[in-house]
C-alpha cells in the first residue's frame, strides 16, 4: 500500500500539465479572471477540447469512450485541473445520465446518446426534485401515462440546473400511481424541445440564473426513451445518487480553494501584519486544511474500494457531508477576508460592460459565492438526508 507516484504517474502528470497549459481556452480563462458570467459556449469550449483529446470522461469504461486511466491517474487529473483553475465540466451528461445509460440502457440508447454526451452535442439537465418532493424524492408526482408507443408526461420539476441550455433531460416520473412510493417510478430521457415543456428561471441570492422550474404539459415521450424497466427507475436513481455523492466531495477544488485563501491572506493587510499572521484567522485556515486532509484520505479509501470492484455505498454520504461543509467554510473565510469590500454588489459585472470591480475582484464575488454555497448542504440529498442514510444503512438504527 502506498501513495507514491510512480515514474509513469509523474510522466502522466507532466503530460496533463502541459496539455492544460497549451490547450485551455484563452477566452474562457480571461472571463474567469474577470469574474464574468459564463455562457453555454464558454462551458462547452473546454468540454470540446477534452472531447477531441479523448479525455472528457475519465471515469467511463473504455468501451464507451473512457480513458482507461488508473485511479491514480484520475486522481492526478482532478488535482491538475483544479490546480490550473479549469472550470468544472457540467456533470449532468458526463457524470450522471451517461453512467446510467451505459449501466442500464439499451444498445440503441447507448449508441445514440453516449457519443453525443462525449462530444458535447447534447446538453443535459436533471429532472428529479419537485415542489413537493425534495428531500423526500420518492414522493414525486409527475406522472407518465402510457399511450401507444409514447408516455404522456404531466407535472412540474424544480431546481433544474442549467435547464435553460438543455437539449435533453433525464426525468423521474411516476408510471404506477398505485405502487408503493419507490416502486412505481420510471427513468425517462426527454427531449427538452418537445411541445409542452416550459422552463422558468429561478434567481438565486447572488443574482445568478442557475436553476429553473420545468413544467411538463402533455409532453409525449417515446417508450424507447425509457431507461431500464418500467417502474424500476428508482434503481437508476439510487445508482446515480451514489455516484453523484462521490464527486460531490470536491476535494481537489477545495484544496485549490485553501491555497487561494492562503495566498490572498498572505498579502491582505490587517493593521501592521498580514491577515495570515492574524492568529485567529490563521487558526481557522489551518483547521480547514486539516479537515480537508481527513476528507481527502476518506475519499482515497472510497476510491480504492471502488477500484477493487466495490460500488460506492452509503459511506459516500460521509464524503457528501464533509465535502459540502468544507466548501461552505471556504466561502465563509473568503467573505471574512473581504472585510468591508464584501458589501459592494455587482450583478454580472464585467459581462459586456466596462465596470471595474470595487476593491478587488475576489472580494466583490465573496458574498454572492458564500450565499450560493449554502446550496451544497441542501442539494444532492440534503445533509440531513445523508445522516439518515448513515443512521439507517450503515449503523442499522
Amino acid at each position: 500500500m502506498n501513495l507514491d507516484f510512480s515514474a509513469e504517474d509523474l510522466a502522466f502528470r507532466d503530460e496533463v500539465r502541459t496539455f492544460i497549459a497549451e490547450n485551455y481556452p484563452a477566452e474562457l480563462r480571461g472571463k474567469q479572471d474577470e469574474g464574468d458570467e459564463l455562457s453555454k459556449e464558454d462551458f462547452l469550449s473546454w468540454h470540446k477540447v477534452l472531447a477531441k483529446k479523448g479525455w472528457v470522461a475519465p471515469a467511463w469504461p473504455v468501451e464507451y469512450g473512457g480513458t482507461g486511466w488508473s485511479q491514480t491517474q484520475r486522481y492526478i487529473w482532478s488535482e491538475e485541473t483544479a490546480r490550473a483553475d479549469c472550470i468544472r465540466l457540467m456533470p449532468f451528461g458526463l457524470a450522471m445520465v451517461g453512467p446510467v445509460i451505459y449501466a442500464f440502457g439499451t444498445p440503441e440508447q447507448k449508441a445514440h446518446f453516449l457519443p453525443r454526451i462525449l462530444s458535447g452535442e447534447d446538453w443535459w439537465c436533471q429532472g428529479y426534485s419537485e415542489p413537493g418532493a425534495g428531500s423526500d424524492l420518492a414522493s414525486l408526482r409527475t406522472k407518465a401515462v402510457r399511450d401507444g408507443d409514447d408516455y404522456v408526461v404531466n407535472g412540474q420539476k424544480t431546481w433544474t440546473t442549467m435547464a435553460q441550455h438543455a437539449d435533453w433531460g433525464f426525468f423521474l416520473v411516476r408510471t404506477d400511481p398505485d405502487a408503493k412510493m419507490q416502486e412505481g417510478i420510471s427513468f425517462l430521457l426527454i427531449d427538452m424541445k418537445s411541445p409542452g415543456i416550459q422552463v422558468r428561471p429561478i434567481i438565486t441570492l447572488g443574482g445568478e440564473h442557475e436553476v429553473n422550474e420545468v413544467f411538463l404539459d402533455n409532453v409525449r415521450v417515446p417508450v424507447a426513451n425509457r431507461v431500464y424497466e418500467e417502474n424500476k427507475g428508482w434503481t437508476c436513481a439510487k445508482f446515480l445518487l451514489a455516484h453523484e455523492r462521490v464527486g460531490i466531495a470536491g476535494v481537489a477544488s477545495s484544496k485549490r480553494g485553501v491555497e487561494k485563501i492562503k495566498a490572498i491572506a498572505a498579502t491582505e493587510m490587517d493593521g501592521d501584519r498580514s491577515l495570515l499572521a492574524n492568529p485567529f484567522f490563521k487558526r481557522k485556515v489551518a483547521e480547514l486544511e486539516i479537515d480537508l486532509a481527513a476528507l481527502e484520505y476518506t475519499e482515497l479509501r472510497t476510491l480504492a474500494g471502488m477500484a477493487a470492484g466495490n460500488n460506492p455505498g452509503p459511506e459516500s454520504s460521509v464524503l457528501k457531508i464533509k465535502g459540502s461543509e468544507i466548501q461552505q467554510r471556504l466561502t465563509e473565510l473568503t467573505l471574512e477576508m473581504a472585510g468591508h469590500y464584501g458589501a459592494p454588489y455587482f450583478r454580472g459585472f464585467g459581462a459586456g460592460d466596462n465596470e471595474h470591480p470595487i476593491g478587488q475582484e475576489w472580494a466583490n464575488r465573496a458574498a454572492p459565492t458564500y450565499f450560493n454555497a449554502r446550496k451544497t448542504t441542501i442539494y444532492g440529498g440534503s445533509n440531513e438526508i445523508q445522516r439518515n442514510v448513515i443512521a439507517k444503512m450503515v449503523l442499522g438504527l
Partner: protein, 376 residues
C-alpha cells in the same frame, strides 16, 4: 433593577412598527431596491417630519425628545424586523451621535435639520487598506487658513448616494495607524472636489466609494474629539446594528418556524422532525442572546471609554456569531427555496451576513476585547 421601557418608548416602538408593517412589505421593499435611487425617500420624510421619530434620541432644546441609546435600540430593532434600508445608523446614530457628543454651533444648527429629515448623513470612516482599524487612515485634512483641505479615498460608504452630508474621518497629522492626528469632520456632500462611485450593496443598500480631491471645508466642520470621539461613535453604531440583528434574528426564526410547519416531506410537516426542532430551539437560544447583548451594549454606552469599548466588542463578537448561526440554519431549514430571491428569508440572510462584519468582524472584536481587558 428595572428593564422595562417607558410609556413613551413603547409608543415610539408601536408607531414605528405599525408604519413599517404597512410600508415595508416584501414587494414594496423589492420595488424600492429596484428603483433608480434604490430607496423611497418618502419613507425617511415620513419617519422624520410626519411621525416625528427621528427626534427621539436628541435633546429637547434642539427639538428632540431627550432620549438616547435606548431609543436608537428600539428603532433599530423594528427596522431590523422588516430589513429596512433607511439610513438610521448613518444619520441618527453616527451623525447625530457625533454632533451630540461634540456639541457647539455646528451641532445646534445641524441636529434640527436631521430631526426635520432635511439632513441625511453617511459615515465615511473606512478606507480600502484599513480593514477595521479606525486609525488606519490615509485621507488627509490639511490646515489651510481657517479651514481644511481634504484629500483621499473612503470606501464602502453606506447611504452616501442619498446623503446631504458626509461624516468623514481624516488625518490632520501623525502617520498611518497612529491614533494621534485623526479627526472627524462633517462635510457638505456637494462640496467641490468630492466625487463618488455609487453601487448597490449585497444587503440592499446603496453605497459609494468617495473620493476627495482638494476639497476645501470650513474650520467649523471639525467635530473636536479626535479618535476617542470616532471610537465612541463607532461603538454606538456597532451596538445599533446589534439591535437591528435582534429584529432580524427573531424574524428569521419566526419565518423558519412558519415554513417548517407548512412544508411537508415524508408525510408530515418537517417541523415534526426532532433534528429540526432542536435546530430551531438552538436558533431561539441564539436569538435571545442577541437581544440580551444588544441590551447590554445599549446600557453600557455611557460608561468610561475603556469599559464602553470592551462592552461593545463583547456584544459584537457574540452577535456576529449568533446571527450567522440563525441565518445559516434558517436557510438550511428552508432548503432550496431559501437560496432564491423569491422568499423573504434569503433577503434577511443577506443583511444578517453583512451585519457580521460591519463595524468589525467577530475576530476583530474578540481581539479588541482581549486587548482591553486581559492584561498580558
Amino acid at each position: 433593577m428595572d428593564l422595562s421601557t417607558t410609556e413613551t418608548q413603547t409608543m415610539l416602538r408601536d408607531t414605528l412598527a405599525r408604519f413599517l408593517a404597512d410600508t415595508y412589505t416584501f414587494d414594496a421593499r423589492q420595488k424600492m431596491l429596484a428603483s433608480p435611487e434604490g430607496r423611497d425617500p418618502g419613507i425617511w420624510r415620513a419617519l422624520s417630519s410626519e411621525l416625528g421619530l427621528t427626534c427621539a434620541p436628541f435633546a429637547e432644546e434642539l427639538g428632540g425628545m431627550g432620549g438616547g441609546a435606548i431609543e436608537n435600540q428600539i428603532m433599530m430593532e423594528e427596522l431590523g424586523k422588516v430589513i429596512a434600508i433607511e439610513p438610521w445608523v448613518q444619520t441618527i446614530v453616527a451623525g447625530g451621535g457625533a454632533l451630540k457628543a461634540a456639541g457647539g454651533p455646528l451641532a445646534e444648527a445641524t441636529i434640527p435639520a436631521i430631526i426635520a429629515g432635511d439632513c441625511v448623513i453617511a459615515f465615511a470612516y473606512a478606507e480600502p487598506q484599513g480593514r477595521y482599524n479606525l486609525a488606519d487612515i490615509g485621507t488627509t485634512a490639511k490646515q489651510d487658513g481657517a479651514g481644511y483641505v481634504l484629500n483621499g479615498h473612503k470606501g464602502v460608504v453606506y447611504a452616501a448616494p442619498w446623503a446631504t452630508h458626509l461624516l468623514v474621518t481624516a488625518r490632520t497629522g501623525g502617520s498611518r495607524r497612529e491614533r494621534e492626528g485623526v479627526e472627524l469632520f462633517l462635510v457638505d456632500a456637494k462640496a467641490a472636489g468630492i466625487s463618488r462611485r455609487d453601487y448597490p450593496t449585497v444587503d440592499g443598500f446603496r453605497a459609494s466609494e468617495v473620493y476627495f480631491e482638494n476639497v476645501a471645508i470650513p474650520g467649523e466642520a471639525l467635530l473636536s474629539g479626535g479618535i476617542d470621539l470616532i471610537e465612541r461613535v463607532v461603538d454606538e453604531c456597532t451596538v445599533a446594528i446589534c439591535a437591528e440583528a435582534t429584529g432580524i434574528g427573531r424574524a428569521m426564526l419566526a419565518q423558519t418556524q412558519d415554513y417548517a410547519g407548512q412544508r411537508k416531506q415524508f408525510g408530515q410537516p418537517i417541523s415534526k422532525f426532532q433534528v429540526l426542532q432542536h435546530r430551531m430551539a438552538d436558533m431561539l437560544v441564539e436569538a435571545e442572546q442577541i437581544a440580551s447583548m444588544a441590551l447590554m451594549g445599549t446600557l453600557r454606552l455611557d460608561e468610561p471609554a475603556a469599559a464602553r469599548k470592551a462592552a461593545a466588542s463583547m456584544v459584537k463578537a457574540k452577535v456576529a456569531r449568533s446571527i450567522k448561526f440563525i441565518g445559516q440554519n434558517a436557510i438550511q431549514t428552508h432548503g432550496g427555496i431559501g437560496i432564491t430571491v423569491e422568499l423573504a428569508i434569503g433577503h434577511y440572510f443577506k443583511r444578517a451576513t453583512m451585519i457580521e462584519n460591519q463595524f468589525g468582524s467577530a475576530d476583530y472584536h474578540l481581539e479588541r476585547f482581549e486587548a482591553l481587558t486581559y492584561a498580558a
